[in-house]
Symmetry: D2
Subunit: 339 residues, 4 copies
């Protein structure tokens, strides 16, 4: 029996942080030893977070000597300011914020309106979209967990783009549940305002877009013109990405479909579906459910994920599993509730 990985979760009372705690607390090779959070410091986690079964006191600050791995679910710039310290104490840092997702520091600073607190770490960070970065994760000390939108969008369009089957101009129309906006109350998450309604936002470009285009360039070695529009849908969890991919001359829809079935067969958390998947069918799970349908010259790929699991905490655990040499699926076997 090996010693379990001692893990701290920073930002443990936000939606992503509490999902991390919940998953890590049931992970067979992990011991959650520290939970952090400024607003509830001193209280027990289970008294603050509904459904939590973790009785640890919440700390305001972390003594990184005591842990092997830090899951940082903090607002942007906050984790970056701490990362170097944590790394220097020997902890692996798995960051769920936007801070280390892109190498392009200028784009970061433009979209997030802040100077980057640790630009020298940008080159070191490994982008943790496991399905495309499996090899590099086993030795990564700083892992940048992708955003929920990029996870769904990249899984939807990158396989076909990487294989050169479709043109380099793609549209991704994404639909997200309300938990994606976080737990801080706002008019845009007020039940009476968002229930019975769907709306688009960020038509001119979303913060996550540069992250996506950088990854597409990395994966395809070409410049891909991505049009990305997110929508808010009245549900708690889930993202559905609908990608419109124009096939290159001579490429049949079956060729594209075949690329995705092959991709699914190589990745334990990518599930090929014979019908367009619903977000509910993956709710609470780490799965990305994928389907592709042909409409004239366009192949339409839809990907459904749980934004807080495969789009955040679950993907972080999946990356940690690779980093620490566990089965990629360890602690991630929870199935969906249906209905």
């Amino acid at each position: 029996m090996i010693r379990p990985v001692r893990v701290a979760v920073a930002g443990s009372t936000g939606y992503i942080g509490m999902q991390c705690v919940s998953m890590l607390a049931r992970h067979p090779h992990v011991e959650v030893t520290r939970v952090l959070g400024r607003s509830h410091a001193g209280e027990r986690h289970c008294d603050v977070v509904p459904g939590s079964e973790v009785a640890l006191r919440i700390d305001a600050d972390l003594d990184a000597d005591s842990v092997d791995c830090v899951f940082a679910a903090l607002p942007h710039t906050v984790a970056a300011a701490h990362a170097k310290g944590w790394l220097s104490r020997g902890a692996t840092v798995i960051d769920l914020s936007a801070d280390f997702r892109q190498r392009d520091r200028d784009a970061y600073e433009r979209w997030y309106g802040a100077s980057h607190p640790a630009p020298d770490l940008l080159d070191e960070a490994v982008y943790g979209l496991v399905e495309f970065q499996r090899d590099r994760l086993s030795s990564a000390d700083l892992i940048a967990v992708p955003g929920c939108y990029p996870t769904a969008a990249l899984l939807a369009c990158a396989p076909a783009l990487r294989a050169g089957l479709v043109e380099d101009e793609v549209v991704v129309d994404a639909k997200s549940g309300v938990s994606g906006a976080g737990r801080s109350p706002a008019l845009t998450s007020h039940f009476a305002e968002v229930n019975e309604s769907v709306t688009a936002y960020a038509l001119g470009g979303h913060r996550h877009k540069p992250e996506m285009t950088e990854q597409l360039r990395h994966l395809t070695r070409r410049d891909v013109q991505l049009t990305f529009v997110p929508h808010l849908v009245p549900m708690t969890r889930g993202i559905l990405a609908t990608a419109y991919l124009r096939r290159r001359d001579g490429v049949a829809h079956a060729d594209v479909e075949s690329e995705y079935t092959s991709f699914a067969s190589q990745n334990p958390f990518v599930r090929w579906c014979s019908e367009p998947p619903s977000t509910k069918s993956v709710s609470g799970t780490n799965q990305a459910a994928v389907h592709a349908g042909g409409q004239d010259r366009i192949t339409v790929v839809t990907v459904a994920i749980d934004n807080l699991v495969k789009g955040a905490a679950g993907q972080a655990v999946q990356a940690m599993n690779l980093r620490f040499g566990f089965d990629e699926r360890a602690g991630l076997d929870r199935g969906p509730l249906w209905p």
Copy 2:
């Protein structure tokens, strides 16, 4: 004081039919004299339809001599079988089914899997998307009210296409509430199956697509390649259409935007919005709320309508107003509930 138009509503206990009854019962120039419906014949409308204030007995069949206008909210092929009879008795027929929406009889029969009961009426029917057909409606005896998806999709992309501002290959990603599937219970409208979920369907092509492409050809005199994918969203009412329009060389986003603000200023039920509209903001109203945003070379137009009002009953009333010489807005002044 002129004599009110005597109106019958066939299919008065389905979602579209009951919305027609509700709106017509409050219309200042209309008297609802007959309500029809096979499954509840003999009962009073207000005893069968929640919220109905119409106490008429529901009839199984219509004596068309007694009415000036028939609103037919019936399954496809049913209205078409009656239309000639009703027309011959002098009634104006406003058909809310798919039967007379397209001239292409072959496409109809292929998509609906039935031979058309009245093909000789296809040329006579006027497509009732008022914003594009205002002139022809004043003398139309047979009006085909557009489907809910085509209404939203055409309002989103036809203005820019007609003006030649964008390329003839467009993507429309549409999101609909559950009432669009009608009142007959099915697993796909079961609360426990659709709540907390979003899913795409009909990726290979939706029944409404030939109707849209025919109209786009009619409006632009060109062949437009439309990719159309509908999605089911967990809300009762509303459609949001998101259209991705690639601007032609030399066309600025502001040019496209200007086309839509101009379009809105000419049409009382098209409302230009400075932000992307939500479906809730038009719920219960006959408005189409429109916004356009530029993302690189793409202009993204979003249109929000209430699928049962502007997408069905309201548009039918709007067409009737033109046919009978009333103010286009008569009986259609209801505002949304917010929240």
Copy 3:
């Protein structure tokens, strides 16, 4: 043609205030001349409130000389501080806060944790539950519009109690939509927290309870032991009150039912239903839908209202109609949307 009543709405950007503006703007005998609100002063109402068609600029303060009637939809203590000034300028004040709902100043100060700003007006105020106070409203200068819970609860149990048909110990279990908590964002109105959930609150007693017991004493001349528990339900609008009434010896369920059908026949906005009503069937309307069912010695009365209409703005308009000599139903004829 008489001069319309000039009305100001204070607190016009909260849920109750915006509902007042919406209803008053369509009232045939009213002109909305002023809308007030500190947080959006200077902006146009229609630019701030989704769905609003009122283009007036929002003012921070009111010159009461210019209006005949003030609808005050303000936090408790705020309206009370202004009421005397408005009354002295000759305006009728229709207050939608808790400030003037009960004569028992001590109970007010205990539950609301604030000293009452205008205790000398308490005797003057008329409690505006129209169905029980119709006579006094025609001459009232200061009208206290009941809370949403008291409206539903009193309509459910007061008829039987007043007629002496049931015992003086009653239970009312009430279920409310989320808009009842107001528009200010909070964790308890966050979509992701309240969706897919129902919970009870204020088991030890709710702020509205003293208002209810005072009214029951007033209507019955006896002390009624009321147990009242509110619940939060994942919907935007609506309150359902379920009252458990133990019949006195010798009283049949039919006697109680008869009391309610009679009550409904005397009140245009009380609608007797042969089946238990749903909140959706009255959404957007000023109706209180009532049903009574017998289960052994208990008669169970359920009342459904729209908390923002019959439970607030609609009831306020109904009271204004009586005060200014209009038909009680003026401006209140909107039917529900179904589905």
Copy 4:
């Protein structure tokens, strides 16, 4: 390592049956060897049930020799007709229908409108509300799993009644999600009809009431007058029972509260909450979350359960654990998703 219990699930494609399959497939001491269902016979379970990971073919009929235990999630009368045969082959039968829940055959036949197919088994069946029947379950061959409403209602009021702390006249107001009505599509589970709405039903008495009164008599040795009214709430899962209990003279609220905290400490799936619990906080879990609050002479107890888990499949697994000598908690450790 002991041989796992071989289990068959009859009715495996309904909501309760699929929940059984999902939980049993992850149970450490169980092997699901057969899944049954007439409507999908021949198909694989995972192809028919969203989220299912069980690839077994669905059979139409069961050869009971091959299994140790049958979970029967069938319409009433169907399981009863098979039970004797299954028992005679040596299988333990855990029935989730109403067939064996009450000894009073007359009440059964009156409420379910059918003659009982196996009245001679009524005395043999053990009522599987584990918290009150733990001793008898270890030797039970035929276990009747309580209905979802009785589970919540009995957990809410039986502890205080059994201890003689409250009067024998109680009101239970229950609120259920839509999945409680099963998977067969109906107007009463149509999204567009039930969303944004709450309604009471069965005011005159619900089918589950005789089951509850029989159990209360069994537990208290007295006749308890129960008034029970169920309500439909727009959510998928969950039941909240609110019990109104009038304390006997001399009994303090703290005495009642103490009875429930003690009850919780003795039962691993009863969780005492310091605040009124929400149904969401137990969604997907086998927990019954309990709170009690005092309002004058009434103690209000609220109990939240997941209707498909603690109210059906989870409780069945819990009973099976006792029957086969496993830890009561085996296979039941899933926590809730929040949000």
